[in-house]
C-alpha cells in the first residue's frame, strides 16, 4: 500500500510539472537575428540638444507606420527633433476616462524632460482600437467620431498645458492603381 501511495505521489508531481512545459517557446523562428549593428547618424545642431520641440502621437498600425515616419521626418521636417509615442488606438485612450490619467502622466514626462512646445496628433481610419471601420456603420459617421475625438483630445491638452500648440491630422488609405497610398488631412 505504501508503494502504491508513492507511485501516485510521483504521478501527481509529474502532472504538476506539465504546465511549466506549456510556457516553453514552440516557435519555429530562428533564435538569432542580426547582431552588433552599427548605425552612424551625423549629428546636426538639433541632434546635439538634450531637448526636442515636438511630441508626435500615432497609432501602432503597420499600414501607417512608414507613412507616419516619412510624414514626421520629411513633410513636417522634424527629423531628430521629435518624441514619438505610438499606442494602439492613438487618441482613443485619451478620450477614454479609464486610461486618461495614466496617459497624461506619460505625456507629462515628455513635456517636462524634453521641454516640448508642440503636439502633433495623428489618428487614422479603420483603427483596430475603435473596432475598425465596420464598427461605425458609415464612412461619414466614422469621420465625425474621429474628428470629434481629435478635437476633444486637443481640448484636454490645452486644458492641462495652455501654452502647447496642438496639430491634428487624420489619415486614410487611398487606392491609387495597385498601390495604397496614405492621405493626410489636417483637422482644424
Amino acid at each position: 500500500m505504501k508503494k502504491n501511495g508513492k507511485t501516485i505521489f510521483a504521478c501527481c508531481m509529474m502532472l504538476l510539472l506539465l504546465p511549466a512545459g506549456c510556457t516553453l517557446n514552440r516557435s519555429s523562428l530562428p533564435d538569432r537575428l542580426i547582431d552588433d549593428q552599427q548605425i552612424a547618424v551625423s549629428a546636426g545642431r538639433e541632434a546635439v540638444r538634450s531637448d526636442c520641440d515636438t511630441l508626435v502621437i500615432t497609432c501602432i498600425d503597420y499600414r501607417f507606420v512608414i507613412a507616419n515616419q516619412e510624414f514626421a521626418n520629411d513633410t513636417l521636417g522634424l527629423k531628430d527633433n521629435y518624441d514619438q509615442i505610438s499606442i494602439p488606438g492613438s487618441i482613443h485612450n485619451l478620450v477614454n476616462p479609464d486610461t486618461r490619467a495614466l496617459l497624461f502622466s506619460k505625456f507629462a514626462l515628455s513635456v517636462s524632460m524634453h521641454l516640448i512646445n508642440r503636439v502633433v496628433v495623428v489618428s487614422h481610419r479603420d483603427c483596430g482600437g475603435y473596432g475598425g471601420s465596420a464598427a461605425f456603420g458609415s464612412e461619414i459617421a466614422e469621420y465625425e467620431t474621429l474628428t470629434a475625438d481629435l478635437k476633444m483630445a486637443r481640448a484636454l491638452f490645452l486644458e492641462k498645458y495652455p501654452i502647447l500648440k496642438v496639430d491634428l491630422f487624420l489619415e486614410s488609405l487611398v487606392k491609387e492603381g495597385n498601390e495604397e497610398k496614405v492621405h493626410f488631412e489636417k483637422i482644424l
Binding site: M1, I8, C11, L15, L18, C22, T23, L24, N25, R26, S27, L29, D31, R32, L33, I34, D35, D36, Q37, Q38, I39, A40, V41, S42, A43, A47, C52, T58, I60, D61, Y62, R63, V65, I66, Q69, K79, D80, N81, Y82, D83, Q84, I85, S86, I87, P88, T99, L102, K106, L109, S110, M113, H114, D126, G128, G129, G131, G132, S133, A134, A135
Partner: protein
C-alpha cells in the same frame, strides 16, 4: 484489504483517464497553433468585420516592435528596423515612454499587456522585438543614476529578460527578440550600436 485494492484500482483508473485527457489536450493545442500559423497565409476564414479590407490585402504584418519614445534614438531605430532587419511596412510600432519599464510596473502591467494583445489578435504578429536603450531618462533616470556604465547595461538587460518571460507567459507562441542600443559620440557623428541579447 480488498477495499484498499479497490481504492487503488479506482485511483489508477482515474489517473489514466486524466493522462489521456491531457494528451488529447496537447495534441489539440498543436492543431490550434498550426491553425494560427496558417491564418497568416490567408487560408483560414476571414473575420467578418474586416472582410472588405482582408479581401484586398496584400501586405501582412509579422512583427511587433516595442521601443522607447526618446527622440535621440528615433532615426537610428527606424533605419535599423526598416533596412537592416528588412521589415519595412510589415511591423506594428509601439513606442511608449520607458519602453519595457511599463511592463514590469505592477500598476500598468495589465493595461500594457492588453494593448499588446490588440496587436497580437488583430494583426497576427509572429514575433516581438523589444528595444532597450542606454541613458533612458524616463524609465531609469538616465545614465547619471548608475555608478558605472556596466551597471546600467546589466540592469536594462535584466529588465529586458524579465519582459521576455512575461510576454512568454501571456503569449506562448510568440518569439521575443531583445536588443540593447548603446550610443557613442564621435566628432560629428553619433554611432548607435544594436546588440542582440540572448
Amino acid at each position: 484489504m480488498p477495499r484498499a485494492k479497490n481504492l487503488f484500482k479506482e485511483s489508477v483508473l482515474s489517473f489514466s483517464i486524466m493522462l489521456i485527457l491531457l494528451l488529447i489536450n496537447f495534441s489539440k493545442m498543436h492543431v490550434i497553433l498550426a491553425a494560427d500559423e496558417a491564418s497568416n497565409n490567408n487560408q483560414l476564414e476571414k473575420p467578418a468585420k474586416y472582410s472588405k479590407f482582408f479581401d484586398e490585402k496584400k501586405k501582412w504584418c509579422d512583427s511587433l516592435v516595442i521601443t522607447c519614445n526618446d527622440f535621440r534614438f528615433n532615426t537610428a531605430t527606424q533605419e535599423f528596423i526598416n533596412n537592416r532587419l528588412g521589415m519595412k511596412g510589415t511591423y506594428d510600432y509601439i513606442s511608449i515612454p520607458g519602453s519595457i519599464r511599463n511592463l514590469l510596473d505592477r500598476n500598468t502591467r495589465d493595461l500594457v499587456l492588453n494593448k499588446f494583445g490588440v496587436s497580437v489578435l488583430l494583426h497576427h504578429v509572429k514575433r516581438v522585438i523589444i528595444l532597450g536603450h542606454q541613458d533612458c531618462r524616463i524609465g531609469y533616470g538616465g545614465t547619471k543614476n548608475f555608478k558605472e556604465a556596466l551597471d546600467e547595461y546589466k540592469t536594462v538587460c535584466k529588465d529586458l529578460k524579465k519582459a521576455r518571460t512575461r510576454m512568454g507567459i501571456r503569449f506562448p507562441h510568440l518569439k521575443v527578440y531583445l536588443y540593447y542600443i548603446a550610443i557613442l559620440s564621435e566628432n560629428h557623428q553619433r554611432v548607435y550600436n544594436f546588440e542582440q541579447i540572448m
